[in-house]
Amino acid sequence: MVEAARRPDITAVLIAHVEQTMIGVSFRSMLAAVRVAAEAALDIEMLVVLDKPDETTREMLAEVDTQGARVLEVAYGDQALVRNHAVGESRGRFVAFLDGDDLWTENWLVAAHALCAAEPRTIAHPYADWVFDERRSLSLPPDQTDPQFDPATLRVTNAWDSLCLAPREAFLDHPFQARALEQGYAFEDWLWNLDTVRAGYVHRVVPDTIHFKRSRSGSQYRLASANQSLTRPTPFQDYAWLQEWEGTREGAPRTAAESSPLG
């Protein structure tokens, strides 16, 4: 085990598949964020993980070690398993993921680290998910501490993207579940959010930060949606568990049995 004092503050993970030339854009974005973090005296480990890459993408990343990045190649073909592998290889106290066609604002690592370092068991999300390229939209994810946010609704709608910064143990204790499209299960990031909320982590948004997410046809999310996939079963989907869970939370909403004509 790496001694805590010698561990990097953050492991920044870039996951590549077949992005080809676009991977250069994402790596450059990571470098910009690492530079700003270094200026803030943060020690950053850069990890580039290629999962079943094509030759061009591999070529594109051939010299990233000269920029201080460590390169791994795996053959999972599954986003969840690649991330789990990357966490296992990481040394940082916190881990931040970047997908191979996306960008961060350059302040992401510094600002997200500041939030998570100040409050234990915090998971940081950007203020905005800025979708560009084929489809364009903006999503401003909720902050779990917002009094209007009801975590019970997480069972119906996912609230956060998996491109977050979180304590390494959050990923180790709650590994992403592999997707099983033939059984109708996907959305591993959604399930991870449910698992971490159940475990008491608090998902926060970091002011003045953006993730730029490239929208492309054939993305994993679109494939899963077209397949009528669901998250794997989780206690969150069980009224009985929810009722008990709400009862244990301070200031939780009224229980389901209240004011029920059937109860």
Partner: protein, 589 residues
């Protein structure tokens, strides 16, 4: 045609006044072809626009809210200038020359008693004046005085009152009354009653008539435009008379730039201010987005919305209604404000700088959007916001956290439902079973279910898009950890099995009832649920079929092997027991 309408309309006037002489004069006017007089035709057209059913009314049914007999002196003796329009009045007379010298005097002495209207504006607000007169000695002044002083002349025209009428949203207005108060005013308002009550009482009590008018937002926008308002309680009339012409959008629920860029052809065609287009049409159409923050309603259509003047976004405005002062704001409006504030942060100097730096790496992030980007800002705004809320409302309403068996029925008196439920209930008992009606209105009795084991899902599904309806039903059956899910005629239930049967069959035993064609006299060929059966049989542990013949037909049609053919159980003695005893086809996860 016009002659017939004239005769009917003026005949209606005669009925009101009960004046035989007037009737004769009307007949003479029509006989003298005065119906060709453009001013008369104009009056009639206007009357018919306001009262589209006027020419179909019985002669004794009041057409207009005149005369003002019995009202306070203010009305009887001197209709104030703002409400008297000489040309309009004269146009109603068979012989206007007789009154042309002193039309107001003529109205006071003759016209009022004859049932003529002093102006078109008076036609619109006559009923409100009468209602106001019950509580005030100065009803006319009370209402007209609420217009900005420089706009009082509009009282006699239809400009303001016509706008007010199509901006009236009776459901929102009714929602501001307690049940007891509604009882005292003869129940929920319709458009006509809401308008009259609002002018007579509501406006003086600070109530809100229009869902797309937010008084605080309007005052903020007025301030930004450098305009002042004297009487804040009359801000809605101020907007109708002044703000409208200045094109001030009085609600955070509508974004003019977004709407105009998204629907340019519609706006161009209507040749009207885009916000008015939304007020008149867009707010009743499910596919219209009002702002970058979303459509503010659950996405389903409501064919009656336009007729009832019930904008689709009222569903969201009335969410958590007891937590908001609906006369000023609502969940929807506060949510839109919060979402806008979050969105505006992206325009800060810091964010602009960060985006510019990212664009140095990837210029595509600055690629211009076709129109304003659609913004999701939960928990205030988002496409699935309504689904989230309905799911939670449903969970709290159901109250139960577990049932062994969920039976999905269409609701109402659908054929075969009661006959199938009977053996199911006999076998499971009502304590461990929940009958959920998914498609149409109905009662527990009609479905043959005990009241305590019956859930009408319609109130939660109404207005929702199809995929959200499915998601809500999925949440219910998963939430209850049902061990058996049985579809008995429910269209949504079949949809659930077809879409999520793969995953549900891993956790619960799925069953269905398949009726025969003979059960439906209008049906020929395969049974009514044959398509659904074909889609879903792969996930079913068993199917109760109407009879042995149908079981054989299905077995032959799909060349079912014995192990699967045995899963088609004809209804009859011990059918449910046999079906329930069959081993699960698949169980995993």
């Amino acid at each position: 045609m016009m002659r017939a309408r004239l005769r009917t309309v003026f005949g209606g006037v005669k009925g009101v006044a009960g004046n035989a002489q007037l009737s004769e004069r009307v007949d003479r006017a029509i006989g003298a072809r005065r119906w060709k007089d453009p001013s008369v035709r104009q009056v009639v057209r206007r009357f018919l626009r306001i009262h589209p059913g006027a020419n179909r009314r019985a002669p004794t049914e009041p057409l207009l809210p005149f005369p003002f007999a019995g009202l306070p002196a203010e009305v009887n003796e001197s209709v104030p200038d703002p409400l008297f329009d000489a040309s309009f009045y004269l146009a109603q007379l068979p012989d206007p020359a007789k009154a042309a010298q002193a039309p107001r005097k003529h109205f006071a002495e003759h016209g009022r008693a004859a049932g003529h209207a002093p102006s078109l504006g008076a036609v619109y607000i006559g009923e409100a004046i009468r209602e106001r007169a019950r509580v005030s000695e100065t009803p006319m002044r009370d209402i007209i005085g609420l217009l900005p002083p420089e706009k009082e002349h509009l009282a006699k025209t239809d400009v303001v009152w016509k706008r007010l009428r199509f901006c009236a949203h009776p459901r929102l207005y009714s929602a501001q009354f307690s049940a007891h108060e509604l009882e005292q005013v003869a129940g929920e308002f319709d458009v006509d009653r809401a308008v009259s009550h609002y002018l007579a009482h509501g406006i003086h009590e600070g109530r809100r008539l229009c869902a797309l008018f937010n008084p605080d937002w309007y005052l903020e926008q007025l301030d930004r435009a450098g305009l002042k308002i004297a009487e804040e309680k009359a801000s809605f009339l101020h907007w109708l008379a002044v703000g409208w012409n200045e094109r001030i959008v009085p609600t955070p629920l509508f974004h003019q730039g977004f709407y105009e860029e998204r629907y340019p052809w519609t706006i161009a065609k209507s040749q009207t201010w885009s916000f008015v287009h939304y007020l008149k049409k867009g707010c009743y159409h499910a596919d219209r987005l009002a702002s970058p923050n979303g459509r503010h309603h659950p996405g389903g259509s409501d064919p009656q919305a336009s007729e009832l003047q019930a904008p689709l976004l009222l569903r969201e405005m009335l969410y958590r209604a007891d937590e908001y002062d609906l006369s000023r704001t609502s969940w929807a409006e506060e949510g839109a404000r919060a979402a806008r504030a979050k969105y505006d942060v992206l325009g800060s100097a810091r964010m602009t700088e960060l985006v510019a730096k990212a664009a140095e790496i990837e210029p595509l992030v600055l690629q211009p959007h076709r129109d304003y980007p659609v913004v999701g800002a939960p928990p205030y705004r988002g496409r699935r916001l309504f689904l989230d809320r309905q799911a939670e409302e449903l969970r709290r309403t159901v109250g139960r956290v577990h049932v062994e068996t969920v039976v999905l029925v269409p609701g109402g008196t659908a054929a075969g439902v009661a006959a199938t439920l009977e053996p199911l209930l006999a076998h499971t008992g009502s304590d461990s079973l929940l009958v959920v009606a998914t498609d149409t209105d109905g009662t527990a009795d009609e479905s043959g279910a005990p009241e305590k084991a019956y859930l009408d899902l319609l109130p939660f599904l109404n207005g929702m898009e199809e995929d959200f309806r499915l998601d809500l039903l999925l949440d219910l059956v998963r939430g209850l950890s049902a061990e058996r899910i049985i579809v008995v005629g429910s269209e949504l239930g079949w949809g659930l099995l077809a879409t999520y049967g793969r995953q549900l069959s891993a956790r619960a035993s799925l069953g269905a009832y398949v009726p025969s064609a003979e059960a439906d006299p209008g049906q020929t060929g395969p049974g009514p649920a044959s398509r659904e059966f074909q889609q879903c049989f792969a996930y079913l542990d068993w199917a109760l079929v109407a009879n042995e013949t149908l079981a054989n037909e299905l077995t032959d049609r799909y060349v079912l092997p014995t192990a699967l053919a045995e899963r088609l159980v004809p209804l009859g003695e011990q059918a449910v027991e046999r079906a329930f005893d069959l081993p699960r086809r698949r169980q995993h996860g």
